[in-house]
């Protein structure tokens, strides 16, 4: 479905980068505070779908040239790898490793669960975009 409106197009151009920024913030923030991969994925999807609505399908394909299926494969693969690695080290599945990085007086808490969350993000974007594209096609161009 496409809504032909100059206002929407202009707004989306501004909003899409901000949405992605918000999604990244939510994904990285999600370890100890509200946020996380699923929410970040949905935020990204909303941005992408608004873009599709404003610019039409062809422009969307230029922005998003892969079939959503591959995102699902990649994301699930990433989460599975992160889940399995601890097994090789004799730890239970999904065990999260964490380390604190000191950068010029600032402490940065790095956790392997973040990578898992990023995998979730990619899966959610893949599934949601795939679903909405598929359903959107039914409503006509």
């Amino acid at each position: 479905m496409r809504i032909d409106s100059l206002i929407l197009r202009t707004a989306v151009r501004l909003v899409l980068p901000l949405t992605v920024l918000l999604a990244i913030y939510a994904a990285l923030n999600g370890h100890n505070a509200p946020g996380g991969g699923f929410i970040a994925g949905l935020v990204t999807t909303v941005g992408l779908c608004t873009y599709r609505m404003a610019f039409g399908e062809r422009a969307f394909h230029r922005l998003f040239p892969v079939h959503p299926r591959w995102l699902v494969v990649a994301g699930l693969g990433l989460t599975l790898v992160v889940a399995i690695i601890p097994l090789l080290a004799g730890e239970p599945l999904l065990r999260s490793a964490s380390t604190v990085l000191r950068l010029g007086g600032q402490e940065l808490h790095l956790v392997s669960a973040t990578v898992f969350d990023l995998g979730v993000l990619v899966v959610v974007v893949g599934v949601a975009v795939g679903m909405i594209t598929r359903l959107g096609e039914e409503l006509g161009p």
Partner: protein
């Protein structure tokens, strides 16, 4: 004992599913990968089953979070036996599917969905808490919705909705009950729940208000998934329409997971204290009616697939009969019966698939003389059908023997119904055997459709399942021993609780109960 590799039973099919999605459209690599995945899981779980044959319990805490906080995977005698049986069934149906599924269906995500089904089934069997049981259910159901509707005809679509809506409603009730349990007792870990509930009953404190209501709600949920008495109406149509390999997979796995959920949660938690007085009569009545009406329905049918599908219901009745006794031998008998039923029932469905290929129909009026045409099929069908009936050297006999003998002292009339049901099962199986295989074909026999060859996969699948069924019958003692350990662990959950929570962490924190 801790064994971190338990998670592999969930990870392997998931990874296979992901890779299969990447390989969509390329049949050969998908097939090889799928068989490898199922085969490796089967070997792993058989190894673990041997390891725990003396009643040990293997446990793995996901992410190293200790028991009541994290996700626990438990591989005890109950789940071990069912996982092995489930994987045998899946392997047989999978290989059978190679030659009976239309290439079109196979290309449309059959392989990823079948693997996803195994993710859900294994997770249901392994998980140690109520909420992950729900998640496992959902993964399994998602895959089954997909499998049910791929390449769907109009009729198949109509049936898919019935199944879909019923299961969605049941799942929602499950979520609500899980929330209620958490609100009442502050935990969802089954071992923790068992400890709290039995502690409260023992100290005379009594169960929290509404606990009995939650028990009944959960019975509704599992009853709907397991096709028990008032909630079975979705089953015959669901198993009638999809491709035969899918129907066989469903008949072996879906309802059993529902029955497993009752076996796992009710003796441990939801049928303790005053809840038992409410739940047991429900189970007893449901068992009797499910057994008897199920078999009556089957006798009245004339299409092989429908006969087999309705028999599933009647045999769920036997399992519920065993569960309703809540004694060690009763539970063990139910478990043994479940294991053999999964294998036998799936092999019957697979035989029916080959029959359809030979004659183009599964209507008893239109088939006949199959024994001459396909001796292997005839013999396999006979062995499987007689196991289902329960003829002595075969597996069904031992299951029924234990159930009926144990039931005699508790609900003798249920044992009588069980015997009657057995006789009617024999009747309907003989009907299929004589008209379909023994008697010469009638005049209106339809001509065979499709190419005659290309049934190698089907024969391998059937042979594998029938040999396993024979093995279960001949090796009844060691398998029943494991089932007996499961019964003991369910009636006296201390071993289970200690295995899940070895350091008594919950108890040391004072618990929330």
């Amino acid at each position: 004992m801790t064994n971190h590799l338990l998670g592999l039973l969930v990870v392997i099919p998931m990874a296979t599913s992901v890779v299969s999605v990447a390989l969509v459209g390329r049949r050969r690599p998908q097939r090889v990968l799928g068989v490898l995945s199922l085969g490796s899981m089967l070997l792993l779980s058989l190894r673990w089953l041997l390891e725990i044959r003396d009643g040990d319990v293997l446990v793995s805490q996901m992410g190293a979070w200790p028991a009541p906080f994290g996700i626990t995977l438990v591989f005890d005698s109950l789940s071990g036996l069912l996982i092995c049986a489930g994987l045998v069934v899946a392997l047989g149906c999978y290989v059978h599917g190679f030659s009976t599924l239309s290439p079109e269906t196979e290309r449309r995500y059959f392989h990823p969905l079948a693997q996803l089904l195994m993710v859900g089934v294994n997770q249901c069997f392994l998980t140690g808490d109520l909420f992950n049981l729900f998640v496992g259910f959902e993964i399994m159901l998602m895959a089954s919705y997909g499998l049910l509707s791929i390449g769907g005809s109009r009729r198949q679509m109509g049936q898919a909705y019935k199944y879909l809506v019923l299961n969605l409603v049941a799942s929602t009730v499950f979520v609500i009950s899980a929330g209620l349990v958490y609100g009442m007792l502050g935990t969802l870990n089954l071992a923790d729940l068992a400890r709290i509930v039995s502690g409260r009953v023992a100290s005379g404190e009594g169960l929290p208000t509404g606990f009995v209501a939650v028990s009944v709600l959960l019975l509704f949920v599992f009853g709907a998934k397991g096709a028990m008495f008032p909630l079975w109406f979705w089953l015959p149509d669901t198993y009638h329409t999809p491709p035969v390999a899918v129907a066989a997979l469903f008949s072996g796995l879906l309802t059993k997971v529902g029955v497993y959920a009752v076996a796992r949660t009710f003796p441990l938690v939801f049928a303790v204290g005053e809840a038992r007085d409410v739940v047991t009569p429900l189970l007893v009545v449901s068992a009797g009616v499910t057994m008897f009406l199920g078999v009556l329905g089957a006798v009245s049918q004339h299409s092989v697939r429908r006969i087999l599908a309705i028999h599933v219901i009647s045999q769920v009745g036997y399992m519920v009969f065993g569960l309703s006794m809540m004694t060690t031998a009763g539970l063990a008998g139910a478990l043994y019966y479940m294991v053999q039923h999964m294998v036998v029932k799936s092999s019957l469905f697979l035989c029916c698939g080959v029959m359809e290929r030979h004659t183009g129909s599964d209507d008893l009026d239109k088939v006949g003389g199959l024994l001459k045409r396909d001796t292997f099929l005839g013999v396999s069908f006979f062995v499987a059908a007689m196991s289902l009936v329960g003829l002595p050297p075969l597996s069904g006999f031992f299951g029924k023997l234990v159930l009926i003998r144990e039931g005699w002292g508790i609900h003798w009339w249920l044992s009588v119904i069980a015997l009657l049901t057995g006789a009617l099962t024999l009747l309907s199986m003989l009907k299929v055997w004589t008209t379909g295989f023994w008697l010469p074909p009638g005049s209106e026999t339809s001509t065979p459709t499709g190419e005659p060859g290309g049934l190698r996969g089907a024969y391998v699948g059937i042979g594998f399942l029938v040999i396993t069924a024979l093995f279960i019958g001949l090796a009844a003692e060691p398998i029943y021993d494991i089932a007996f350990h499961a019964g003991e662990q369910l009636t006296d959950p201390t071993v289970y609780i200690e295995a899940v929570d070895p350091h008594g962490l919950v108890a040391s924190l004072g618990g929330s109960g």
